[in-house]
């Protein structure tokens, strides 16, 4: 349980100042994570079913993403690598 101290208005203002917003672009990218994961799903499913394809994806994940018409953003590459690793 969070301990709630006594507050006056000045202190409340100071506390509110401690949490400025994150950059909007970062927040937008984080909101889109489910969409990025969905784009990768077919690649992961195919890799699960086809060992040769899995090897090719592991060797060159960027090429695999481009082949699947997915933008090979560095974050997307990392997600793909991790998911293939997790599925081993």
């Amino acid at each position: 349980m969070t301990t709630v101290a006594a507050y006056d208005e000045e202190r409340l203002g100071e506390i509110l100042s401690a949490l400025p917003p994150a950059p909007e672009v970062w927040v937008g990218a984080a909101r889109d994570i489910p969409l990025r994961e969905q784009e990768i799903d077919p690649i992961v499913e195919r890799a699960d079913a086809d060992e040769d394809y899995r090897r090719r994806v592991i060797e060159d994940p960027a090429a695999a993403l481009e082949e699947a018409d997915v933008v090979a953003h560095v974050d997307t590459i990392e997600i793909l690598k991790r998911r293939l690793d997790a599925d081993k």
Binding site: V4, A6, L16, A18, L19, P20, I33, E37, D75
Partner: protein
Amino acid sequence: MGMDAVEAMGLRVELTDAQLVARCRTGDHQAWAELVDRFSRYVYAIAVQAFKLPEHDAEDVFQEAFTRAYENLHKLRDDEAIRPWLAQLTRRLCIDRLRAGSAEQLEDEVEIPDLEDTMARLDESMTVHDALATLPDNCQEILDRFFARDESYRTIGDALDLPSGTIASRISRCLTRLRVEMEGRNLGTSPS
């Protein structure tokens, strides 16, 4: 009346953390966006204030924290504990980032000055933000703009179409409402 019925009437419903997590698990992208909105400042502050990461490292940690949260949400044992879980996840990623950027081989624990104090301050701020979320929209907006976004009276006045001379008194009234809300929570959480 059920929550869906309330929403169907166009009323805004503030979901608890646990309700939000439960909705995310069903694949509700809107709920995920709301979860990101609710915790984005917290994750950002941990990276930038508690661990003092430079902006580009903080951005990587920020995206990684939410990506891992999304992928591992099913592993969260207590849905209400999403905040500490996310904090722990972010802290680990920050430490990994500091280790990776260090020329020296760091020991198990990376020493961060004032880390626990900063984390306590951020947690307290999240609690106050939770209380802020229960106030009317106009109060939320003016307090957030003035304190968290550090906007001037003039900028706030222009954005909200208010005379600059009334901003200070509005802020004061809204702070009083926030204090009353916090005192109500205090009473609610005091041991009997």
